[in-house]
């Protein structure tokens, strides 16, 4: 077990080294792309806390992602808050919203949970889409100012990288803590968990809120990156993007969603350059992964490594 631990650490160090030095080798366009990957990695890992670790598939993850973005945007543009404060307020505010929504959602299981989380997210979308005076309606909010020191792609890159590393470490600690083990037990067998003294609803509520917090971090970062927000950030198609990313990468491995984010965004940007038929290619990738690689790319690689180790 210890050897694998050391290997993981080496892998992470290499990963980090690559991303720290990358901007010096590639152009600004690529740097922007990688920022998007970082943000998606945070969002997908956050959503996977519920899906892969908790067995709870939420169709409303875009709602909290968008909530983070909107709260940040509104605080900056309507209330004149400084960027740093707004960035923190985004996730905090989203968590507060997650409190009542999560309370209702965790009282339902399986498909009912999924549908209810979808309903709430769509309601949030409608509120933002129709409230023109406050939230900009379908025009969204544009031209959001960010501090001067972050105003270049390069600096925002390192900013996002730092936050991503912090978030991933935090989420990793959570899933490996006793709390994390409890959540996994709930995924495996709710009834048995009940009988060993676990208050099912309370724990599920907690992971719902935590997941929403980190989703909102991603949303707030994206708001700063694009310097705008649109109602689309909350629409169900965004939820499906996130779900595709974590499935693509692998839901039972912590680094899975991050790998999924890299592959997804890379594939998207490359393929779109050559053809307008990205949807059908993505669709076929999805069908392929679902049928043949249910543990995702990371899961597939991990299985290979494990079997070669045994030999």
């Amino acid at each position: 077990m210890n050897i694998i631990g050391r290997e993981k650490l080496v892998f992470c160090a290499i990963f980090l080294a690559i991303f720290i030095t990358l901007p010096f080798f590639v152009g600004g366009g690529w740097t922007s792309l990688i920022i998007e990957m970082f943000i998606m990695a945070i969002a997908a890992t956050a959503a996977n806390l519920m899906a892969g670790y908790g067995g709870m598939v939420s169709f409303g993850v875009a709602g909290f992602y968008g909530a983070g973005a909107y709260i940040t945007a509104l605080l900056i543009t309507k209330a004149g808050f400084p960027f740093g404060v707004a960035l923190v307020a985004g996730p905090v505010g989203a968590s507060i919203i997650a409190l009542p929504i999560g309370w209702f959602c965790v009282r339902r299981t399986a498909i009912y949970f999924s549908m209810l989380s979808l309903a709430f997210a769509q309601l949030m979308y409608v509120i933002v889409y129709t409230w023109y005076s406050f939230a900009g309606g379908d025009d969204g909010i544009v031209g959001i100012p960010i501090p001067a020191f972050l105003n270049s792609t390069l600096s925002y890159y390192y900013f996002t990288l730092a936050i991503m590393v912090i978030c991933l470490i935090a989420m990793w600690l959570i899933v490996n803590s006793p709390f994390g083990k409890t959540i996994q037990a709930l995924r495996e067998n709710q009834e048995r968990a009940n009988f060993i003294g676990i208050n099912i609803r309370r724990y599920q509520h907690a992971i719902f809120i935590i997941s929403s917090f980190f989703l909102a971090v991603a949303g707030s970062l994206y708001c700063g990156f694009n310097q705008n927000v649109f109602a689309d950030y909350m629409f169900w198609t965004k939820t499906f993007d996130i779900i595709i990313v974590y499935l693509l990468g692998g839901i039972y491995i912590f680094i899975g969603p991050t790998i999924g984010a890299i592959i997804y965004i890379l594939a998207n940007k490359i393929i779109i350059r050559y053809t307008e038929y990205w949807p059908i290619i993505l669709g076929m990738m999805i069908v392929f992964i679902t049928l043949f690689m249910p543990n995702g790319v990371a899961g597939f690689i991990w299985n290979r490594i494990s079997t070669t180790k045994k030999q």
Partner: protein, 244 residues
């Protein structure tokens, strides 16, 4: 533990009718009866899986009739299941560990590495179960007998004062049955546990029980020491007679 006038109906059927009995501390006893006698329903009523329609359950003087299973667990009342009920994608080690963490109340902890906690206690349980070699195997991949053992292990892990074992040796080979019976006896003595078994294997029942209770069609029809029960005509007629 005391059960008073317990009744439970499902639809029009009386699953448990007016059952009353008392368990003394440290008593090892069994409940026997033909299938459908209401034994598992009785367990469900005691452990909070379903609420009684009438009657009460007391544990250590406290009325636990309407509590949820997770609350009852924290009162030190544990239970294993007739159909194995484990955490399939968690390893054997993790199955036990999470039960111990929960009973200690440590599972709200966010930032410590779970691995390092309760290692000693987890290994102790695994040694008792004889599953140390398989500690990293995923629960769902174990053989049936080992899964049942794990199920019992999970209930033992929280160190309950009273443990309810629902057909612990069902589907086990004769060797596994002996192993399990010895384990229950040993741990009961060591920890001063009160044990209540539901069993169909008469060898196990008679070798381990100080008191045997017989249920038939939802009612408690006999209660006493093993010899008394063996010679009870009605019991023989209803139950043992059918076996013979």
């Amino acid at each position: 533990m005391e059960v008073k006038n317990l009744k439970k109906f499902f639809g029009g059927i009386s699953a448990v009718r007016n059952v009353t009995f008392k368990l003394e501390a440290r008593e090892i006893s069994s409940i026997i009866g033909p299938n459908g006698a209401g034994k598992t329903t009785l367990f469900n009523l005691i452990t909070g899986k379903c609420p009684p329609d009438e009657g009460e359950v007391y544990f250590n003087g406290e009325n636990i009739s309407r509590l949820q299973p997770f609350q009852i667990c924290h009162k030190k009342l544990g239970r294993s299941f007739q159909i194995t009920n484990i955490f399939p994608k968690l390893s054997v080690y993790e199955n036990i560990q999470v039960a111990i963490l929960s009973s200690r109340g440590i599972n709200k902890n966010f930032f410590n590495r779970a691995d390092r906690l309760v290692k000693k206690e987890t290994m102790e349980v695994l040694i008792n179960l004889g599953l140390t070699e398989k500690k990293d195997v995923l629960g769902g991949l174990l053989a049936h007998g080992d899964q049942k053992l794990l199920d019992i292990g999970i209930s033992l892990a929280s160190n309950p004062d009273l443990i309810l074992l629902d057909e612990p040796t069902a589907g086990m080979s004769p060797q596994e049955t002996v192993k399990t019976t010895e384990l229950v006896k040993k741990l009961a003595k060591e920890r001063g546990m009160t044990v209540l078994l539901i069993e169909h294997d008469m060898n196990v029942v008679f070798s381990i029980s100080e008191i045997i209770r017989v249920m038939h069609q939802g009612e408690l029809i006999a209660e006493g020491k093993p010899d008394e029960i063996k010679s009870n005509n009605r019991v023989q007629q209803i139950y043992l007679g059918e076996q013979g």
